[in-house]
Symmetry: C2
Subunit: 555 residues, 2 copies
């Protein structure tokens, strides 16, 4: 191998390949390694009671001193959300774009890690070196300010990581994707491209961020009452458009909701709010004419405790929604949230508001590249090897197929998933031995202690509840001294079903009378019998399968 | 009042107004009443363990002999699904279009009610009389064969119930919506229109059912392997298009999945399958070339036990999905099902199949009228009064606004929800006293016994599990003879947390030592103390709130 000292380059996805969210990918060369992104995922419905999901980063921990940095591509939760959890027991510097750095510092403060970990700010045009790796942040457009791709210069060649991106030629902040630099890299030769697959199923080009402006303007023009506007709280560009529109239509802007306030504060400190808006005190909203007010709020996903959800229920102290008001939900409905968003919209309609959302008006565009942009990046950079990143398997597979359509050789395009390792050497690329990868659940203060067995129990409990059966048994004689007492939760209303439980008790006693006193003195045997009798009875009479918890008190 | 004997006409929605599904609406005049539709709803995620939801029809039961019939507009589950449950203790005749009648008879067989209830078949062009009500079925187009609107001739005027409909000028079976008859009724004067609001938020016209043909044809042309096709099992027209395409492309059709088989069998018996297809034995699929096979399957919503879900996991005995195969999911992704459908698609991609669905190819059109069709019906029938039906409140409100745009006077348009009563007399219309309405949960064999308190318990159990604490206490002395023994489910892995539970036990004993022996001999007081101690401990150490179930055995 030509650059023999470092061995092959290793690409190790720990999250985000085979799923949406949890993005984390390790790039390793010789004794040096960096991780790109460290994101979270919000729990799915089958993850009962789980608050957050983070990637299993035991592989990172195993790297020890060899892990030189965590690089962050941009400030979305699915790229930075796991950082404070991972930094708890891993002291490694974080390098992030300005907005992401601001948001990460906020998180470290909440996790009482402020000042105990290093967060460095990355700027485009300022490449730097970590061990054998040259690292160059490259500007890309996305639905949050300060989004970067990374070019890694290694002894084996250049690896390009796209981050999350779209190719917006008219971005709101005038900072387009740096096509020149990408082209230059392509001209010199890219060894490996890792590229965002989120929209790999979407044909054509993603519209520019400015495409929402006409739809928003029409709503601002047509609305007699207040305009409520909600998008992802980090979507500074979208909010900038609304602030500009409000000024043009003689509306003052009130900001309601902590996440939006935080995001605007950080963006303001970084100079992302060039027009220096004076925000209206929320308490003053009711005192000025409705058509002179815009309310920027959190809660576009219908989060039950968000400002917008509370306003929709008319449960907010200062802000009230009234007939003639308009609501703009300027974001994608994240799968799984549709029902709760729909309920919120119903309440808004009951208040008399007119609600605009992605399904009925062009008030949102995606931040991710569609097929033509993905092909453009592939053609522009002409990589020898290709790995689709950021997506469920369906997206990775589609992106891989696109890459083959534009000239990547099928044997050089790898749809790998979390834990699979791609090794790229001077003599070729191959899938190597996998490493541990997976999901870690955060539940309350517990990180990782809620495992599948516990989720299985919670699911079982959630379906048909639980029946507890307590028996007192004389351990010498096997005599049943008390019980079985049956207590249930989530199974049936006990007061209404006394006769039903009485019958169950009788069946248990009948069965226990049939076994020997020796067996009755054996806790395990008694429990097993009780479980069997009750299980059969509940299934036959009610077709339900509660968790049955027999408990024997020895007397 | 001119037609004084009968009093006002009463419109009483018991389901489907303010929600999607559960459609059931009562029309009452004098001593005569009929119900239109009696549908179910599949449970939402917060309805833990519930199998089905049906409307609360206690109002129907209260009508006694006055309820003359249940009329069915078409055979979808949200219009017929509750019929067997309601007929259990209500012997009232059902009048339904042919396909719906076939499906209802199938259900009565499953519920062991066959032959014990009357199901009459309705034909268009054959109006009939029930007491003072003339009832005329009118052909409409929808995503199932044999869909009707109903015109009710009452002494006060004509009431038109749209059923579910779209206005398809080129339906697959050549039976368009009967615009002439609707226009004729409009010319003579319609008192009240009740009209489907499902798509009231959608601009323009819904495309014809034939619009999916070109997209399907392209897939049939391009696919080298098998074509898997899945739509709602009752969507005979869609399946007819696929059977026709298969013949044109030299593919034999195998039918896999019970619901599709049943639906095709009934449709065949009714003459809805004019081309009399010979279906391929599923066991023979593997024996003939892949490009000569189409597989019609159930499971377009990713239902875990469906044929398609099992095939995707390569867990089907006879049918295997292979590279080169195509899958067409030709239906809307019902909100709440997105995740499970997406997981199924990922598995199909792992099998190497190419998957087509609504988000990436025009392989589905809605069966419901969009705004322009809704306005057309309003203009065609020119009703004096208007009530939007079938939809969440957001849809009803939007539909009401549309009606006002095309000339309905706002004071004559009523966005009412379930249980609200509209009375229409010769002298005007008004909202009257509400009646009981709501949802009844079916859980296993239990109908209506799972109430909100049980769902609350299940939700609580699902979040952080349960901790059982059993204490043996001498009732005379207040001495703690045994325990507390702590047993948990869905809370924490006990083997890994012995020290943690040991600490909890110690805290309970410490607390109980502080209260008087008299208090300790009091079950309720002991339970309360145990609950308090454990609750605080779990919240403080783990930030979790399990269900705590203290149990005292008196010794």
């Amino acid at each position: 191998m030509r650059s023999g000292d470092g061995g092959p380059l290793r690409i190790i996805p720990l999250g985000g390949l085979g799923e949406i969210g949890l993005n984390c990918l390790v790039l390793e060369y010789g004794r040096a390694a960096v991780a790109v992104d460290c994101g979270l995922m919000f729990p799915e419905t089958h993850m009962f009671g789980v608050d957050l999901v983070i990637p299993d980063v035991s592989y990172l921990r195993g790297l020890g001193d060899r892990l030189l940095a965590i690089l962050i591509s941009h400030g979305h939760e699915d790229h930075i959300g796991a950082v404070p959890f991972v930094l708890r027991d891993l002291d490694v510097p974080v390098f992030a774009p300005p907005m992401a750095a601001g948001l990460i510092r906020e998180k470290l403060r909440e996790h009482e890690l402020e000042g105990r970990r290093s967060v460095y700010v990355l700027e485009v045009g300022r490449p730097f070196q970590l061990g054998p790796l040259g690292i160059e942040p490259i500007a890309v457009t996305h639905s949050i300010v300060d989004s970067y791709a990374f070019a890694f210069t290694t002894p084996l060649g250049v690896v390009l990581h796209s981050g999350d991106f779209k190719i917006d030629h008219t971005p709101v902040d005038g900072r387009p994707t740096d096509l020149q630099r990408l082209g230059e890299l392509g001209a010199r030769g890219v060894l490996l491209l890792l590229s965002d697959s989120t929209n790999a199923e979407v044909e054509g080009f993603t519209p520019t961020e400015r495409a929402v402006f006409p739809a928003l303007e029409k709503i601002f023009r047509d609305t007699e009452g207040k305009v409520f506007f909600s998008t992802f709280s980090s979507h500074i560009h979208r909010m900038l458009q609304v602030i500009e529109l409000s000024r043009a239509h003689g509306r003052q802007v009130a900001v309601v909701g902590r996440s939006v306030e935080t995001s605007l504060r950080i963006a303001g400190e970084l100079g992302h709010l060039p027009i220096a808006p004076e925000f209206l005190d929320p308490a003053a909203v009711d005192r000025i004419p409705a058509r002179e007010v815009t309310v920027l709020t959190s809660g576009s996903q219908g989060e039950p405790l968000s400002a917008l959800a509370r306003i929709a229920m008319d449960d907010h102290r200062e802000i009230h929604m009234r007939p003639g008001d308009a609501v703009i939900l300027s974001s994608r409905f994240i799968p799984g949230n549709e029902k709760v968003i729909s309920n919120m919209i119903n309440h808004m309609c009951r208040r008399g508001a007119r609600v605009y959302h992605q399904n009925i008006a062009p008030v949102h565009v995606s931040g991710h590249a569609s097929q033509e942009e993905l092909k453009l990046l592939l053609r522009l950079t002409r990589p020898r090897y290709f790995v689709p990143i950021h997506g469920e398997y369906r997206h990775l597979a589609r992106h891989r197929a696109l890459a083959c359509e534009v000239g990547i050789r099928p044997e050089n395009a790898f749809a790998i998933e979390n834990g699979q390792v791609l090794e790229v050497g001077a003599d070729g690329a191959r899938i190597a031995e996998p490493v541990p990868a997976g999901r870690v659940f955060v539940d309350g203060k517990g990180v990782g202690d809620v495992e599948d067995v516990i989720l299985r129990d919670r699911r079982h409990l959630s379906r048909d509840g639980l029946v507890l059966a307590v028996l007192g048994i004389n351990q010498q004689t096997g005599e049943i001294v008390s019980g079985p007492d049956l207590v249930s939760r989530g199974f049936a209303v006990e007061e209404e079903t006394q006769a039903y439980f009485e019958q169950a008790r009788a069946l248990v006693l009948e069965r226990l009378a049939q076994i020997t006193p020796e067996s009755r003195a054996d806790q395990f045997e008694v429990k097993e019998e009780v479980r069997k009798v009750l299980k059969r009875y509940f299934a036959k009479t009610l077709a339900r399968r509660p968790v049955i918890l027999p408990f024997v008190v020895e007397m």
